[in-house]
């Protein structure tokens, strides 16, 4: 590989673990009885947030949202982290892929929250 190729690869790798997570706000969501609690979550605009999703059911569930560009399976009795944003103000629906009729929710992104 040419020297410039290695340089490019090194430059890309140096970008990987760039952002400290200490300042990332954390929001909790629970799955119980194939429902999301809370059903509606308000988060601030233009801010990356971490969703901690706790699946209290015995069966797996998948947090899915095309609008948020996220798809994450949470095994029964386990928790998972989902990073979303920074987002523009608006409503971003999500649902449970395993129980789409009952497991539905939305993230409300608001200015200055």
């Amino acid at each position: 590989m040419r020297r410039s190729g290695w340089f490019a690869l090194g430059a890309l790798l140096s970008l990987l673990p760039t952002q400290a997570l200490a300042a990332t706000p954390v929001y909790e969501i629970e799955i119980r009885g194939h429902l999301f609690f809370p059903e509606e979550l308000r988060i601030p605009a233009d801010t990356k947030v971490k969703l901690r999703v706790h699946n209290r059911d015995a069966t797996p569930e998948e947090f899915e949202s095309y609008e948020l560009n996220r798809e994450k399976v949470i095994m029964g009795g386990r928790s998972a982290s989902i990073f979303v944003g920074p987002l523009a103000p608006g409503v971003y629906p999500f649902f449970g892929e395993f129980n789409p009729r009952t497991a539905q929710g939305r993230i409300l992104v608001v200015e200055g929250d």
Binding site: R2, G5, W6, L9, A11, Q19, P60, K72, E97
Partner: protein
């Protein structure tokens, strides 16, 4: 603005520095994500009107794959690859194993990243190809940019034993689940090509979806075929 110059500079360096892989290296652009519990049945095809490298016309390659998530970070897929060209019937040409390893949580860092390992055996000359590819992705609102940087080793009776590199870039606009326009760039020693691609997926039921891709990749230099049609159907369950 500084960020923009940084990315443009990096892109230029990549194009000039990593375009070393030989053979036509146009194919699927991989994303660094694994969905646990998922199975995947995949068919993908390439059609090349004329391959300047060996003069073969109406060359077609079909790959049929079956994959399964091994954990929340690993996905394994095996392929059977068939080939045909003008005057030839379809024959089993190669087999391939792929292992995708998701290394970061989506959206956690400035770039999402993963690794793809490939091992391919070509039957006619008992040739082997092993590759490791760094998969990078970043969201910009409704846009997503993906890069696959490959380091490849070839050996066997029909090829020179050598190291190669490859680069594939995809810029995608997430217009709607069923339709996402994209543009791709593919670089290798005998490949410099770019063109538009349409992608999309449809939910068929609980834990069932169909993903599709189709594109026309245009050659940008003499060794690259004038155009390559690529298509993909992926049933995820």
């Amino acid at each position: 603005m500084t960020h923009c110059r940084h990315w443009v500079g990096l892109f230029w360096v990549l194009c000039s520095g990593l375009a070393l892989a030989d053979g036509v290296s146009i194919g699927k652009v991989y994303h660094p994500y694994v969905t646990p519990l998922e199975w995947d049945l995949e068919w993908r095809a390439l059609h090349v009107q004329e391959n300047p490298e060996d003069g073969r016309e109406r060359l077609q390659e079909h790959a049929l794959g079956l994959g399964r998530a091994l954990s929340d970070r690993l996905f394994l897929e095996g392929y059977l690859i068939g080939e045909r060209s003008a005057g030839e019937s379809l024959r089993l040409a190669a087999s391939e194993l792929e292992l995708l390893w998701q290394l970061s949580e989506q959206g956690e860092y400035a770039l999402d990243y993963g690794l793809l390992f490939e091992l391919e055996h070509e039957r006619e000359f008992d040739d082997w190809e092993a590759a490791a590819k760094l998969l990078l992705e970043r969201e910009f609102g409704r846009f997503s940019a993906t890069a696959n940087l490959g380091l490849i080793r070839e050996w066997g009776n029909g090829v020179d034993s050598e190291w190669e590199t490859s680069l594939a870039l995809q810029g995608r606009y997430r217009h709607a689940r069923w339709l996402e326009p994209a543009i791709e760039l593919h670089l290798g020693e005998d490949t410099r090509a770019a063109g538009p691609v349409l992608l999309g997926s449809a939910r068929l039921g609980t834990r069932e979806s169909l993903h599709w891709e189709m594109g026309v990749i245009l050659g940008l230099d003499a060794p690259t075929p004038d155009y390559t049609l690529r298509g993909l159907l992926e049933y995820e369950f």
